[in-house]
Symmetry: C2
Subunit: 540 residues, 2 copies
């Protein structure tokens, strides 16, 4: 286990007329004698003077900071006293949100956390509109000159660098260290974000056949990107596999531990896309599909990201029809995040306000008087369609109520159908059944907030014992943390990249058939979901 930057005690003899070895040669020789590592040692240009002066100032003995990342190890600092803290920053570089942590590489402790909205949003909310902005100038000028400078790309890069610098400043302040003493940075993001971060042309990412310019970027120092952390801080950028399979997912696989597991597991990460990986220490197969928007709050009109004011939990008592909900931060509700949406739709199904197709049932055809009363209270007819007014009470401080419309329900059904179809299709590729999985790891905000039981009710996730499901939180950030701390984690990333097979769903016939079959609650084949009650209505 070797951190990205490590401390090495070293002592050299002092120079004299009979030993006029240059300061940096002296340091390199003394270190080579101490280290059990055959890689050559170098000193990056930008810290030659500070390292040599530090070494001399300390009387030619003390503690060298070593960048262990590259083939040739670099000496990036020297101090007389043993450093108590060697700080390194891990970053989840999300399309909408950045989440960062500061680790002490000396003991692995997390010493600060921070997060921030991705300010690139002002140039476009999603990946496609950002690529559009990045490449606007060259498309207008119709140039393909290799050295053409894209103004929009520069803007996007400068914006994200500013965000990262703000996060670094905040982390350093919380940790009580100068920001220039952050000694390394690991970045885990999707392929487009990695391109925009490096200011590298994303033009071909979103055009068939969807080719990234790079999957790996090595040997970059923070100073080259105008980052405010130590200019010689090494950057570890999580490798990606393709346009739609980014470093954030490699991070997730790493954090989940599935690539070290003998038994087969599944990893589900829902963002704008649902990304799913199946495998073990021998093999990995992955795919991605558009199952996410409704779940991330991107489709439902009242949808929102998990954040303060988002309804994250909803329950309706099937007997009393009492409605209960909880918002993140316990503040007045302003919308529904993914988990709240799943809870609500599952509850609507279990209380029979919607049918197996996910359509609101007509109160006019309801025979149960209590349900009818409930329907009258919560269902409204707007534009010829029913909708469910969740917050038809006075604790709502929005101008509008939090409402679930039929159009939201339809999107939700498509999303859950896509999710289940993705899981089944992937599993079928290797001839396994859900029951053979050791674990289903659920990453991200989705994993943290959803109740797997409710997702099973909807037929979104397979009907397995709840203990099969393990939420792991922000696995993109966790993977970025792991690579800072451990060279074996860094090597595992390369192993993951080389052992993964990618299944393209857009051209997959089986997926389309399974998708159609999954557009009912819980499924057209209810035997797949024995734990879910089945309701049939004469009006369906």
């Amino acid at each position: 286990m070797k951190a990205i930057v490590s401390v090495q005690q070293v002592e050299a003899s002092a120079p004299g007329l009979s030993d006029n070895t240059a300061d940096l040669d002296r340091l390199q020789q003394a270190l080579s004698g101490t280290l059990q590592d055959e890689r050559p040692l170098s000193v990056p240009y930008s810290c030659m003077t500070t390292v040599a002066r530090g070494f001399r100032d300390a009387g030619f003995k003390g503690y060298a900071l070593l960048n262990n990342l590259e083939k040739s190890r670099a000496i990036v600092g020297f101090s007389k006293a043993k450093p108590v803290v060697v700080a390194a920053m891990a970053l989840d570089l999300g399309t909408t949100h950045l989440e960062a942590s500061l680790l002490n590489l000396q003991n692995g402790e997390k010493i600060a956390s921070a997060n921030l909205e991705n300010a690139q949003i002002r140039f476009g909310a999603d990946i496609l509109s950002r690529i559009h902005h990045a490449t606007a100038a060259r498309r207008q000028q119709k140039t393909l000159a290799p050295d053409f400078q894209d103004v929009g790309l520069d803007e996007l890069q400068a914006t994200i660098i500013t965000c990262i610098n703000d996060l670094a400043d905040e982390l350093a302040e919380k940790a009580g260290i100068p920001v220039a003493e952050i000694r390394a940075l690991s970045v885990s993001g999707n392929t487009t974000m990695a391109h925009l971060f490096l200011g590298v042309d994303p033009f071909t990412l979103c055009r068939e056949p969807y080719i990234p310019l790079f999957n790996r970027a090595t040997g970059i120092e923070a100073g080259q990107l105008n980052l405010v952390i130590s200019p010689v801080a090494p950057l570890f950028i999580m490798p990606s596999i393709g346009s739609y399979f980014g470093g954030d997912l490699i991070s997730g696989i790493l954090a989940s531990g599935m690539a070290r597991s003998e038994k087969t597991r599944m990893l589900i990460d829902v963002g704008t896309n649902a990304e799913v990986v199946l495998g073990n220490s021998e093999w990995l197969i992955a795919c991605a599909g558009a199952a996410g928007p409704a779940l991330e709050g991107g489709v439902a009109r009242m949808g929102m990201r998990a954040g303060a004011g988002a309804i994250e939990y909803v329950a309706i008592d099937p007997k009393t029809f009492a409605v209960e909900y909880r918002t993140i931060g316990d503040v007045a509700p302003i919308g529904l995040c993914g988990s709240g949406l799943i809870d609500l739709v599952a509850a609507l199904y279990l209380t029979q306000l919607i049918d197996i197709r996910g359509k609101f049932r007509d109160p006019a055809k309801e025979k149960d008087p209590e349900r009818l009363e409930f329907m009258k209270k919560y269902l409204q007819l707007r534009n010829d369609d029913f909708c469910f007014v969740l917050t038809a009470t006075d604790e709502n401080d929005r101008a509008e109520d939090v409402v679930l419309e039929q159009i939201d329900l339809d999107a939700m059904i498509r999303s859950k159908a896509a999710m289940y179809a993705i899981l089944r299709t992937l599993l079928n590729q290797v001839g396994l059944s859900f029951q053979e999985l050791e674990e289903i790891t659920v990453a991200g905000a989705f994993g943290r907030h959803i109740n797997p039981e409710r997702a099973i009710t909807l037929g979104m996730l397979p009907d397995l014992p709840l203990s099969t499901y393990r939420p792991i939180g922000n696995s993109s950030l966790q993977g970025a943390e792991l690579v800072l701390l451990d060279d074996e984690a860094r090597n595992e990333c390369e192993k993951i990249v080389s052992s993964i097979t990618y299944l393209e769903l857009n051209v997959n016939q089986e997926f389309m058939i399974r998708f159609s079959g999954a557009r009912f609650i819980p499924h057209t084949d209810p035997s797949l979901f024995p734990s879910v009650p089945l309701f049939t209505h004469s009006d369906s």
Copy 2:
């Protein structure tokens, strides 16, 4: 033989939905398949976009430019058509003068040359005063803080970078290429100049025990130094061995070929110091001493560097006493350069105007009437000392005559004595005699202009057949050219550095004894110089 930057033809299959390898991965994979070299391939951050776009623009086949310098080879450019010219700049980074050439790495041809005065001169004419300027701020502020920024050092670096950029612009213009298409730079200079070029603290260079901050600086790209050549151009900085043994001399050893020779040779390079190396392919021993100033024109009051108006050749007929001289550029004389000074002093000895101690003889004691007449014409008594007025004729357009004073003669005798003592001491270290040398290579302006016969007359160089002496011109520049063209030359530099033994003369007793013995013309032991006539005078 592999140039520092080479061209490699490569062809890859085009991407498609079934092969969505990233552009740079595709290029790296195709190149790895073609190259017979196990080193990994990388693409420097600053040219990721241009390389990938160039590759794509060329239809995924064409010619890659490879930086072969580092452990990990870098792809630094891509073009559809085979480049006819791959330009690289070699630079002799002298304390007073810069000399540069532009080579076409495709065929080894020199395509342009340029030279320039070192503009750092305005901060100090010599190395010591420049180090003083570089470190003034920190000495005033009495700080040793490792990250203290020396203003003077920054000025000196910015000045030399501007000079180099001017040279690069001139070379590019002469060659008819954009300056950004200069793909590599090799730099050969003394240890202080290398420190100032990189803006690295030279503080300890001139203080006992005279320790450089670095001897080797690797992995630097031109862009890091604000050079106007290609920002990803690799820099090859000639390694040095110590404060007084710089990369320029490693260059000289390389250019002389002595480190590849089975027979033992000697290399003499006279600048501010006389630097002398003895050895063969098995071993090398070197030393430096203050034999130079008089020879480089730094001591004689009329002394000057070899340049327009410098008297580079003097002859006096021993029978007719007719004086002849020639200036560089055939213009009116303004001073004496090293070769003119040697010629003049040798002629004064052979015409018996000076005695074996190098003292002007008193005309009052002269018995030969023709010599007496000559003495009366050319010798003048100034401040109680005789001096020789070389240009006591009307072609002199200086305000003053070009005059050799007794003080100049004394300095000359010290210099020549030091030179001979250095050569003898060095040779004695390995138990060899001058007669066992295959060759004495004489580098630099000194080697180009002096007549070895006259130097032998003075007892400065050993009395060997003239065919033993080989002038090779600017060997510092030649070495810089060789490392651009050939990886074997680059490896030879490391071999030279590791095989050289340095002999410190300042504390050498033998040298001091030999120095005293050599303070006569030609020597206190005339049998060492059988070819030189010996004159004794009753007045000596």
